[in-house]
């Protein structure tokens, strides 16, 4: 019949159109040997174009842009297409999509949980050959200059002897923020152990009726991970096995719960002015007198009387510990990765860029303006940076960043990195949920902890 023919024709048109799009375009990348590529880029100054995606707050982007422009002036034959792609989660999804469609940039920031799968699928390259190259690599002294925890982290993503990432200058960590005026008035120093935290909190509660201590819960698992690790739980072993349901973890949980139930400790959602995940809005209203939160967020923890806050001076200290001989704290921050969808020349250029971005002199302005942590001793010892670290209250906001960074630097020796495993973000979500439901929802700690460890979705 006539109309059947027409339908068939119609559907054929649609199908052909659809199939036409199925032709993959796989550009084959020319690859030279590493030495050849180095010669081309550094000696012959052959023009190379690379693209660099970052995910940083719009306020900080200009400083990074400046650093990239300076790089291009130092290496005129390398052109960097630099762009800001939004928050790190958006950026990661974008990158994942682009890997499949083979349209990745040359370099990007990525966070730890992303590494295992990217490595397994061959999406990013091993940077060890570049690190160890005699011409463009880092000498032993230079390598020793980088803080070990950051260096070990990027070497831990792949098998031994490989290095799949490179530290960015966006490292931060949690610090203890406290009401210095109140503490000074009572002759107290910043607490060094959890016993002290609990004792101070008890006294604060008795005197002011308000809880003494709060813990930010924006990273989901942050509080439980740090505390249970301090109590001795492996949390995630070096082999990547999750071990959170053990007596030490339970003890840590019960410790917080006891103090919360007695009103000595609190959490952001329970403070009238805070709500949500961050304690600072409650802290500035003296609804708590100490809290643990991100170092880079210090500017929001300083009270401003014009905004209706209370009036006091802020102090920052290292995190309290369970056992001062077995101190534990965790660092946060992204790492660079170079994608395999690139020529060797592009990879050489990318390596030159990311090492440039971590060199001391280039970073000082960035570090001072953003409050991110230095990643090498030479950055810390830089004279301008030392001046920054010695800021006084009359230097304004710079002082706040300085005391935050100082507190973080105290912890650098025992700072750990997160072991990157598959599903790390799912774990973080579940642990965060467990923490909140036990402490706020009133769930039974032992059974909830066991259930969280058991579910592996």
């Amino acid at each position: 019949m006539n109309f059947t023919k027409r339908i068939v024709v119609l559907l054929l048109i649609v199908a052909i159109g659809v199939l036409g799009f199925c032709g993959g375009t796989g550009e084959q990348k020319q690859t030279s040997t590493l030495d050849g590529a180095i010669k081309k880029v550094v000696d012959d100054k052959v023009p190379v174009e690379i693209s660099f995606w970052t995910g940083t707050g719009a306020a900080n982007y200009p400083y990074l842009e400046k650093m990239v422009n300076n790089f291009m002036m130092a290496y005129p034959n390398i052109k960097v297409d630099f762009s800001n792609q939004g928050a790190i989660n958006d950026l990661t999804v974008k990158l994942t999509q682009n890997i499949v469609s083979k349209t990745t940039p040359t370099i990007s920031n990525i966070n730890a949980p992303t590494f295992p799968e990217y490595i397994a699928s061959g999406a990013i390259i091993d940077l060890a050959p570049y690190l160890n190259d005699s011409r463009i690599g880092l000498s032993a002294t230079q390598q020793a200059d980088i803080f070990p925890n950051y260096f070990e982290e990027v070497k831990s993503f792949g098998p031994a002897g490989t290095m799949y990432g490179w530290p960015t200058n966006k490292k931060t960590t949690d610090v203890l923020v406290y009401n210095k005026t109140f503490f000074d008035a009572h002759g107290w120093d910043a607490p060094k152990t959890w016993t002290e935290v609990a004792a101070y909190s008890k006294l604060i509660k008795e005197e002011t009726g308000k809880p003494g201590f709060s813990y930010d819960i924006s990273y989901g698992e942050g509080a439980f991970k740090t505390m249970s690790s301090q109590w001795g739980s492996p949390y995630i072993t070096a082999d990547g096995v999750i071990d959170i349901n053990n007596p030490q973890g339970l003890d840590a949980l019960l410790f917080y719960k006891e103090n919360l139930d007695k009103g000595y400790f609190t959490l952001p959602p329970l403070m009238p002015s805070a709500g949500g995940n961050y304690s600072n809005a409650g802290f500035v209203m003296e609804e708590c007198y100490m809290f643990i939160g991100p170092a880079a967020g210090i500017q929001y923890s300083v009270p401003f009387v014009e905004r209706g806050h209370k009036d006091f001076e802020v102090g920052v200290a290292a995190l309290p510990q369970k056992d001062l001989t077995k101190a534990v704290t965790f660092g946060k921050g992204e790492n660079y990765a170079v994608f395999s969808n690139s020529t060797t020349e592009q990879r050489v250029a990318a390596w030159l860029l990311i090492t440039y971005l971590t060199e001391a002199e280039n970073n000082i302005e960035w570090l001072i303006k953003t409050g991110n942590l230095p990643i090498s001793s030479s950055q810390v010892n830089n004279p301008e940076y030392q001046a920054f670290l010695s800021s006084t209250p009359k230097d304004g906001n710079v002082y706040n960043f300085a005391i935050s960074v100082n507190a973080a630097l105290e912890m650098m020796d025992y700072m750990r990195y997160d072991i990157a495993i598959d599903n790390a973000d799912k774990l973080a979500e579940k642990v965060g949920s467990m923490f909140r439901t036990v402490l706020i929802g009133g769930a039974d700690p032992a059974t909830t902890l066991a259930a969280t460890a058991g579910s592996r979705k």
């Binding site: 109309f3 059947t4 339908i7 799009f21 199925c22 032709g23 993959g24 375009t25 995606w53 707050g57 719009a58 306020a59 900080n60 762009s83 800001n84 792609q85 939004g86 928050a87 958006d90 999804v93 974008k94 999509q97 682009n98 499949v100 469609s101 083979k102 349209t103 940039p105 002015s273 805070a274 809005a281 209203m285 991100p294 880079a296 967020g297 929001y300 401003f304 014009e306 905004r307 209706g308 953003t370 409050g371 991110n372």
Partner: protein, 275 residues
């Protein structure tokens, strides 16, 4: 007498409802005028002490506003033009033509409304990337040209055109296309403008797709360009600037609505067989 009382009650109810409906918009506007400290105050205050009109200027300076706006306008115009064409043709076919598997096809088009965008995005991104259309207007416009909601709406309206008009047009010797142009479209003008407005709002607010398909700042639109423009280091947002930018962005939409208002709500003044 009763009429007047009734009308007064109507007005009162409308005013109350309108006030409730307005609250979020009013808050957005007021926050745009607050200082940085005031925007963060807890408990939040309603009115800023001194309206800071400078926020609007600052917001314009920080983000390449004009670029985002012009991109959005270009995409919007292209989408409205394309989508209207596609919609008109398709709705007319479903309303006034008869052909095999008509209902199946209509249901298929309806079906495209039922799929969450999140699932379509992943495959569509691959398609766009394979075609090499990343960072292009084509990629931003084409997926939005097909809008089943509009086709459905226009089809409903077209079905309301009286049969007599159709018969008369046949008698006059008009084919389908002339009937569509000369009779149906003028009658459905108000719905047509409504569909154009709805497409426009859709484009203005859409975020996920442009975010994926544009990696260059030069092609960003208002929705995804501004989403990150006012964030500080740890992810905290400068709300007074974010709201200023957002308010500025709604102004064109409000103006367009006021302009189109008359056409949408005009009603079928002419409706006679004469025509």
């Amino acid at each position: 007498m009763k009429e007047r009382q009734l009308h007064t009650i109507f007005y009162v109810i409308l005013v109350l409802t309108a006030l409730l409906v307005l609250i979020p918009f009013a808050w957005m506007l007021l926050t745009a005028l607050k200082s940085e400290g005031e925007a963060l105050m807890v408990p939040p205050i309603l009115f800023p002490k001194r309206p800071m009109v400078s926020n609007f200027i600052l917001a314009l300076e920080i983000a390449p506003f004009l670029s985002y706006l012009s991109n959005t306008v270009i995409v919007a115009i292209l989408v409205v033009l394309g989508s209207t064409t596609v919609t008109v043709l398709a709705s007319y076919a479903f309303a006034w033509m008869d052909f095999p598997i008509k209902n199946i096809l209509f249901f298929m088009i309806l079906g495209s409304m039922m799929i969450p965008q999140e699932m379509l995005i992943i495959t569509n991104f691959m398609t766009i990337a394979r075609l090499g259309w990343m960072n292009s207007y084509k990629a931003l416009v084409l997926p939005y040209v097909i809008h089943a909601f509009n086709i459905f709406l226009l089809r409903q309206t077209m079905l309301q055109v009286p049969n007599d008009l159709f018969i008369a047009s046949r008698i006059d010797g008009l084919g389908h296309f002339r009937f569509l142009r000369k009779v149906v479209l003028p009658i459905c003008k108000s719905t047509l403008y409504t569909t154009m407005l709805l497409s426009l709002i859709w484009i203005w607010n859409t975020f996920a797709w442009p975010n994926l398909v544009t990696t260059k700042d030069s092609l960003r639109m208002i929705s995804n360009g501004l989403s990150n423009a006012f964030t500080v280091n740890t992810g905290s947002i400068r709300y007074e600037l974010q709201m200023s930018a957002t308010t500025l962005v709604t102004i064109p939409l409000i103006l367009i609505f006021i302009a189109l208002r008359k056409h949408i709500f005009e009603g079928m003044k002419r409706g006679g067989i004469k025509g």
